[in-house]
Symmetry: D2
Subunit: 364 residues, 4 copies
């Protein structure tokens, strides 16, 4: 009798989540099948459900960052580290696949996120093409998908707690070129912002100030390494005063915008010191526009502003290593506010959408 797997499916934008049954795929040479342990539910899934991303081939199986156990593998597979991937191994994998390494964007501009061949599990693969998202009992690892072992001593929940936000935050913190003792503000401490706080703390930042509207998130940010918090309940002018009080009126060496609110980009430019760096990583999707003031916010400040959208394999690889090494110091697993069965996918998504939790996971 044929094995089948259940998976949650977004049939179309705004349409109710459905539970589909998929036949076990035959493995091509170089492919593998994972039995899913955890798959993340994050803000991008909310956007996908609302149809806010372009180029999404609905129906899709959501779930871009997942952990699973290798059920089957066809051929002798290896990780980037050269380690063999065997049945029973607990792994995670880079959601981005098929980047061609053969086009101008990949090879000359150094911008593989612009590669036209790029595909993403849980986002730009269709459910019609198989088990290519994580909200599923099984995930099909196409040949060449980059799996990596969850190292001994790293609880899968710690890694999935960090999840895609950890990878993005690592990219952002790398770009910020933090020097020991640098002061830092993180505007918005959702999944990306919390990991940015944790990584900045591990990088030896000095004053680390979390800015958010939600008190629980600010409390959690302190456990992740924030030395101070500023509530969005304060008016913008008072937030700036607080920032000045914390930085000898200089502003922060680095500000990381991770909120997704357009206004936060303008506020970040106010909060940063002259000659400081602003990393904008909250606008993965289109949340509208913001008015900025070139003279006061850019020229006169000699500001450096960088945008982060996607990440490279390097960030994913190092994120696993960093979670393994420092997972005991930073409570990443607390990011998971709700654990849900596959058939509870709707509730898992709503908990994120309504901001009841920073992140849900689906345990398939």
């Amino acid at each position: 009798m044929a094995t089948t797997y259940l998976a949650a499916v977004f049939p179309a934008p705004h349409a109710p989540i459905e539970l589909g049954e998929f036949p076990e795929p035959e493995l091509e040479h170089g492919a593998a099948l994972l039995h899913t342990m955890y798959s993340e539910v994050c803000g991008t899934d909310v956007h996908l459900h609302h149809g806010k991303l372009s180029g999404v081939p609905y129906p899709i199986i959501p779930g871009h960052v997942s952990v699973g156990a290798v059920a089957k593998a066809h051929g002798s597979l290896k990780t980037v580290n050269g380690d063999p991937v065997k049945e029973g191994d607990v792994v995670t994998f880079l959601d981005v696949h098929e980047t061609c390494n053969n086009c101008y964007h990949c090879l000359v501009a150094g911008q593989p996120t612009r590669c036209p061949s790029r595909k993403v599990y849980g986002i730009t693969y269709s459910a019609n093409d198989g088990l290519l998202g994580g909200w599923s009992q099984a995930i099909y690892m196409k040949p060449g998908v980059k799996m990596i072992h969850i190292p001994d001593g790293l609880a899968p929940e710690t890694f999935i707690g960090g999840g895609c936000g950890l990878v993005t935050a690592l990219h952002a913190v790398d770009m910020a070129r933090l020097k020991l003792g640098d002061s830092l503000a993180v505007c918005g401490v959702g999944p990306v912002g919390q990991s940015a706080v944790a990584l900045a703390s591990l990088s030896g930042a000095g004053e680390i100030v979390a800015v958010d509207a939600v008190e629980d998130r600010l409390e959690y940010a302190k456990r992740m390494g924030a030395t101070q918090t500023i509530s969005l309940a304060l008016p913008r002018k008072e937030r700036l005063s607080r920032a000045h009080a914390l930085t000898r009126s200089r502003g922060f060496d680095v500000v990381i915008e991770a909120s997704g609110h357009p206004d936060a980009v303008s506020e970040a430019l106010d909060l940063v010191r002259d000659g400081g760096r602003v990393i904008v990583c909250g606008h993965y999707t289109d949340n509208g526009s913001v008015e900025i003031h070139p003279h006061w916010q850019i020229n006169r400040k000699h500001v450096e502003l960088r945008g982060v959208w996607g990440s490279r394999y390097e960030h994913f690889h190092r994120a696993v290593e960093i979670a393994a090494r420092f997972g005991g110091e930073k409570p990443w697993s607390e990011m998971i506010g709700g654990r849900f069965e596959l058939r509870e996918a709707k509730a898992a998504l709503e908990a994120v959408e309504k901001r009841q939790v920073t992140k849900s996971v689906i345990m398939a």
Copy 2:
């Protein structure tokens, strides 16, 4: 009988220019007196006349970049190169003075333009304190002012043709970290933009596209090294199409905004390629705000945006050397659209204000 010198004075914002008579100053130890040969009239002088800069101690003698001959020197003065400064030498000098090298901004943040002690000839020194601007028959070199010789073979008109715009453009082009063959757009080819075109050309940029509304400026930009031009007479959408046609639909590796129009910051973000660099150097003064779109213009593009306001001594020093070495290749002296006597200062200023010329000089 006491020697006196004439100087043009801005008595107050909007007030008519006056011609004042100043006694020859007694030289402190380490000071010198220049007999002015050329002093620049640029957009900043227009702003000063309109009272658009804050902290200006009117009355002032305008003129921040000048060339003169050393009439007197008290003590054994030397340039940064260690060369003695003697009577009769033709020199220029850094308008910025008194930066303390003793405060957080100077010593820790690496942002001497934020030093509270910083003063600027022709801008933040008062005429009540002496001949501290270039629209004057003589300029008092306070002890420690950094003079440098106009090297043999460098026509003073070539250097003053470049003037403050050349220094700012060098700072901008340094920041752009051009690689050989990089494509570049310069939005706005006034004094800063023209020098940016010339310096990018000397740096081995590939396609160099000047964008401006004034046809004469675009023609001049070609003589400075632009390979293509785009007229602001075209609608914005068509300008973008032209840019795409010139860059295989990729956008430019580097865009330098040198127009001072807030909208040009947004257009620069559209014109730049994914992963490219935008340098905003046109907003020395407050010209208003602009709406930008974080998702499309920053995050998704992985853009790097940098602001340039003031410059460091290094830029001034190298600008003189570059003008000396490459002055024969780039027609900087053509930047001077009008040559005026001191008593014609009003006409010199109006020619710039009405955009009849890119730049005037006063020959005192």
Copy 3:
């Protein structure tokens, strides 16, 4: 009757060059066949003939940089620019192939030259595996080999004149992060050094000093852009004095070592200014060791020293574009001191080995 092609073969280290006859290969999907126009003979070929490189699968067909016309293509091939590759097109191609983009070196360390799968036409492919070197009437383009068109207006002789040395020099000059007006010395003006001089000149370097023993090379370097030369006929101490005389006793902002003599690395450290940059790109093969003095040559000088061995696709791609744009300004084709028929390969090699010419080409 079956078509065959002649190719020059190194059967083994030190063994005489042989002329072999190869059957026309059948094309796999994605492959192409070039009819060779030019293939370069450079110092690396001398090393290959002497067996100085490890891991070379003799017999080999030498010739790593070549220009040819597409004779046949199987499938719809495209360049990195997305342009179709059709029969009759004149192209060059990246000699490096099979870099995996799947290992630690490729994906995490950013060092694809260390990828264990990496192969190089003319060096690490065996003649037993086909027409995989340029000293041949035809070259087999394996599927995925990165071809690029010789653009209209670029004489193939200009590009092959630059050849592999141009690509290496571009990598070196990129690494040197030249700023406009920087002073530079190039130690050794063979094929890499001459292109380094030309590229530094195109990048707006100031004083550009070529150092070599061969008077003809120094003369040629002047035509490539050197402003001064220093002969190795002078004792080392006097060479240093000359360098000081040319740099106000400061030393050079940048020194590029392109000679392959170990002592030149030490001399480069003497010639560079405090806080300057030394790029070592001459030691592609093992030419022995050198004594250096950490206190005086590294610590006290705050020197930055970088090694260049291989290059990335980006350097090759931009080298073609730069040759197309600036080929009229720099006489790259003069690098070719001798043009030889395929059956004269021995003479072509000897001319390089005996330093009678900077470079030979084989016209197959």
Copy 4:
């Protein structure tokens, strides 16, 4: 009756230390007098005693990094932070003084350590000119010397435990541009190396491997943050094997040479991964030469090597802040192996010279 102060004096190279009596200096405007609390005894003092540094104006009072209490101040003195310096304040100060900020090295090359006016307390000031070294009951703060408060909560012993080695290590770690999780080896864990270990640990380095001959030092390095140690008791080849075992045969992302042995520079080049960074900061004085192999150790590895000799004010300033913030996490005060009275200066020096202690302090 006139106040006098005792100070330890090096009369000449190799001559026995003398105890001199100095009159209390009259304070110029802007000057201050410190009553010394701690002054460091480090390897540089051993070198000074042996006459190994050039340009030292014997007799000198050694002691370049010190902590003291302000006994008197003439005028209203301020720190770089803008805080007033008042009698009774506990401060430290930058030993480097009189850097001119007016010469090519200071202003164009960005190399103030090469400024010809530069002077250093305890090294290049003569005892004939007053109390200008720290092995003294009092230290004369010349006008403009940059004092900074020991912040509340920072034990002076923690800061002096770090001392000059902490400042140099911060410069080195900044230059290494560590990314989160990078692996690192520190060759030589004397005062600089121990702080390099601590700072790398605070910066989120991954594997941190201390290499030294002294078992106690390796143990201490573990308390500072080393994750592994390699003993110089092992032959060089085995040390390399151990390094490979710790880095999946890749070598370290970063190697910091802090031993002062010339051979360690060569070993660092072996230990670093392809494309990694080597910082050489151990050769403050001339300890001889080393043979290196350009092909294998530089070119083929695409290595980046940087030298660190002196530091800038920024490093000193941030070192104080970092010690204040992280002093509780890293046992810097344990660096002090011996506490000596001023009249025991000989014993203090011998303890360092004989490597009985990592560092001594003199408590005056």
